[in-house]
Structures are given as C-alpha cells and as structure tokens.
Symmetry: C2
Subunit: 354 residues, 2 copies
Amino acid sequence: MQAGLTVAILGATGAVGTRMLAQLAQSTIPVKAVKLLASSRSAGKSLTFRGQSLTVEATTAASFAGVDLVLASAGSMVSKQFLPVAVEQGAVCVDNTSAFRMVPTVPLVVPEVNAGALREHHGIIANPNCSTIQMMVALNPIRQAVGLKQIIVSTYQAASGAGQSGLNEFYQEARDYLNGQQMTAKIFPTKGDQRHYPLAFNLLPQIDVLEDNLYSHEEWKMIHETKKIMLGDMNANDIKVTATCVRVPVPFSHGESIWIDTGRPDATVAQLHQALATAPGVVLQDDPQHQLYPQPLNATGTRATYVGRIRPDLENPGAFNLWVVADNLLKGAAWNAVQIAECLVAEGLIHAVA
Amino acid sequence: MQAGLTVAILGATGAVGTRMLAQLAQSTIPVKAVKLLASSRSAGKSLTFRGQSLTVEATTAASFAGVDLVLASAGSMVSKQFLPVAVEQGAVCVDNTSAFRMVPTVPLVVPEVNAGALREHHGIIANPNCSTIQMMVALNPIRQAVGLKQIIVSTYQAASGAGQSGLNEFYQEARDYLNGQQMTAKIFPTKGDQRHYPLAFNLLPQIDVLEDNLYSHEEWKMIHETKKIMLGDMNANDIKVTATCVRVPVPFSHGESIWIDTGRPDATVAQLHQALATAPGVVLQDDPQHQLYPQPLNATGTRATYVGRIRPDLENPGAFNLWVVADNLLKGAAWNAVQIAECLVAEGLIHAVA
C-alpha cells in the first residue's frame, strides 16, 4: 500500500480552494491528512473533507512542516511568499496563480497535453490560466492529428474567474438592475484597477490589467502560455497566437470562439471530429441537426472540455472555426491542479516527506 | 417647402417598430402623417408620435393607399406579403427583415458605406442584419484608408435581437435563476426551432437556424451581406469573411471581436485611429491607459458605433484585433432604416404619392 500524502490547500476558502478540496476528495490521490490554509481573516472557518470537518488555519511559514503536496490558489503574492518555503521543507506545489508560470524551469502543465513536462519539476508546477487550459485540451488533438499553425481566439469569460467576491458583486448587480436600482461596481473589470464598471447585462473587454503593448494581461497569458505548453518556449513562433478576452455576464464556465489554421489545406471537419471524439478530457458536442453544442449551463460542475460548432472557413482551406466551453473553476483551475497531482503520484514524482 | 410624406410603420408595436417611430420623430424627414400597422392582435393599441396619440391598425393590402414611405419590421413573411403591394401603390419601402436582402436588384445599405446604391432602388431597400451593420460602419473607414483583405468575427449578441418576446423571456429567466427557480425557455436560441435553451447566465452559439453547411443563418448573413455591401456582390471574394455568432445574456447592444487583415504589412494602430476618429457614425473609444473601451451599457440608446481595443496582431504584420459595440435596435435596425429614409429624401429619391 502506498503511503498517504499530507496535502495543504493554500487559499482553501476561495472559489477555487473549496473546489480543490472537493476535487481532492474525489481523486485517486492517497490522502493521509489535509491542512486548510488561508488568510488570518478566514482562520477558524470549517470545511468538510470526506465527511470530516476541518478547521482553516492562518498561513505561516511553519504551516508547511510535514506537508507533501500544496495546492495553491490564494493569489500570486501569497504563492511567491510561501511556495519556496514549502518546497524547501520537501513539499511539491501545484500553483494555480500566475506567479511562476513563465519561469523557464517551472513546468506549465495541462495533463492531456504535456504531462511529460512534470518530470522536469523542481518542486513547483504551474497550473495555466483558465482560458488557456480549455483551449489547449481542445486544440492539442487537432494539432496532433492534423496540424496547427495559427490561433485567433475570442473569449467569453465567466464572472467567477474574479473569485467569490467577483461572483457576489455580479449577482448583486443583476438583482439591482432587475429591481430598477443603480448598479455598484467595485471589482470588475479588474480588482485594484482605477475604474470599475458593472458586469451584469454588460460586456467588459478587459480581463486583468491593460499593458503597454495594448493587450490585456489575460490576452498576454493566452498567447505566451499556449506557446510554452505546446512548444516548450513562451516565445516560440511555430504556432502564431492572438487573443481578445472579454468578461461576460455568466457566473460559471468560459466560452471560446476559436479560429485555427491547421496548415493542411485538405483537412476536413470529419478529421477534426475523429481527433476529438477519442481525445482525453474532451466531450465532442457537435450535432447541428439536433442543435447540440457546448453551453456554460451544461458544462458547469463537470471536468470535461466541450467542443462543438466545428466549421470549415469557407474561403481559407485548412482553417476552421470552433466553439469550446469548460468550467473555469474545475478544468480551468481546481480539477487541472488536482489532475496534475494525480499524475505526479502515478509517475512517482511525489513522495511522502515523513 | 418640401411636401410632407405619409409614413407607414409595419410592425409598429415591436422592439424595432417602436424605435422606428421614435427615430422618425427625431429625424429630418418631413412627415405629414404616420400610419401604425401591425397584426390584428395589436390593432387598437396606441403609440405617441411627436406628442400625438396614434392608433395601431391591422395590416391589409388596402393599408398602403397614399403611403409614401414604409418602414417594415414585422418579419420576413409579412414583408414578402405586403411590400410588393405597397411598391405597386407608389411607396418606397425600407425593409428591416431578411426577405429581400439577397435579391440582386435590391440595394442593401449602410448609409456610411454605400449610400450610392440607393440610386438603383426599385421601391424596396433592404436594411442589413444588425450584426453586419455595426461591423461595416467600423471597418469601412479602415478599408478606405488602409485596406481590407480578410475578416474573422466573433459576435456577442444581445437578447433584444429576438424581439420584445425574447427580451421578456430573458428577464424572466434571470429573475427565476436568482430566485433559485427553474428557468423555462420557449424562444431562444431561435423561435420555432426544435429545442430551446435558457439564455440567462448562459451562452448560446446559435442565432437563427443551423444550415447544412454547418453555419448558422446569422453567420451566413454576416458573410454574404458584408460582400454585397462592400463589394456589390454577395459572392465576391476580394474580402474573405468568416463568422461565429453567439447570443449572450445582455439585453441591448451587440459586441463584436473582429480580427482583420488589412493586406498592408506596414499598417499601424495610429493609421486605424486616424481613419476612425473622423469616420461618420463612429465613436473611437480606445484609451487603454484610462480603461476606456466600448461597452453595451454605454452604447444603448445611442445611434453611434463604438470602436476600441485596437491592437496589432503581434505575429501577423498588417493584421489587427478590434472590439466594436452598437445598439442593435438602433444602428442595427431602427436608426439605420430611418437614416436610409433620410438619405432617400436628401437625394430626391422619394416623393409624396398624392
């Protein structure tokens, strides 16, 4: 029998943290004990793991003694502060923040695409951005079976990408609007930015800060994370990528309208269907005759990435449009992190410290 | 003094019809009298035009006697039935439905782009699809100043595109969801189709019916209307166009994420800004430093097309991403129709029958 692991969840009370705990409970990871870590504000709260009530502790450097696996989703600053400490004490960390994603020696992993990169880990593995992950799951089978030269993506991203506080603000705005009240925005488009706008009944073409090159940081992530995951180098140009990221008034699950050039003028929808039908993590949902296609309401609460509306670009042979939906908090965050941990266990890349 | 026109609004009680009446009231068109026409179900209702209460009449062939101008938005079947009758009696018709858009001898007009096509009219002028119109207003100045070879568009379309009944269903769903009730869908994605799905807190990648070539009819319209408006031929291939149309849980104003290839590798954002800053019907709203960009909540109730988030595709010289928003019921329907009528009057292309 494999020794059980002591698992710490850093940011345990957040929208992603609570789901990490639930995904861990349903995972194949042998768990000996769970530590729930958060800010001092959340210390003392209780959460349930496999029927057992656990108390949330305030995070300190001492919290990681005896911890084998850290699942982190408490913000970049917290990850930068604590994950090196945890690694020093022998833990392996799967980090859902952007803190270490672009460090060349840190694997950035979508298990369906580049699980092999885990073998190179030095204690920290980065979970990609939510919108990147579902695009990788959908496009990698096409890349392998047919080819992939160019990606142009427009996202339709859910409110919960801004965490529980963003979700609460969104619901309150929706109630206020329907009751004829003024909407009050303090979080969207991006917490801490200068201006805030209502998301309810609106569209916000800004996710994360807008940078000097005119792209939002979310768009930057989609471009460079794609290259690192698929090509091993954040600046490789074998696959061209551009992105427009838009927040939409949907609570859960991101949609993506993706145009790709496979570079194969003779490629067919049938070939793409065949590649996707048996691809890991993908549910092909593409039956126009019966009006079947991916929808956020159906994807929410599931681990899969749904792909549909696959159409050839009628004037660019080898190019296609597709529509991809996945639960941003599960495959886009909590499940992908736990899935990485499952791979680490399966490959013998993590061991009990004690 | 110019003789006043007798104007009939066909479909006067609908989401577009009521706005046609309001836009007509604010227009430069010399109006002698207004006739409000609708189905027998709506007959007897009252609407106000320039302070005067008018009664809605049931539409019959006799309704068009003495009418100089018809603004029609009562569905394709109604337009096909009555507009030829109205033309026979001497009226000029601006039709907001898709009934005649692809008839080669019927001008399909966005006044900022191809007002000249009005001179060829034979009594019926077609108003383009809402999502096409705002894209044309945004892209034509770029086409003229820089060039335009290819368009890849993803839409974020508002619930009101499905009319007042769609809007009502959407609001009811939103209330039900927030109250923890089951949502009931009878209209979206498309009235009369086999299956219906909730739009509130969801995304529906189907607008109008899905056709045998896998594209939705809305996507088909965006492709072929663009070619007819910009190139004069619905099948011309000087500009390649592909589209993905998605209904989003927003009541008013469509968003569009548009990727274009200008065909000019040396083109700059500054050139696009310059072209758009003085373009008719365009409000350039592109100041990332101050987080200014187009939003449905700000566009709603106005006649303009808002353009922002203009960024060069960092790996495809001459290609750009942009974000375009306009009120789908005004510039996308009622205002564009009344604006066409203003052009007809200004060009002497319409005259009082009596």
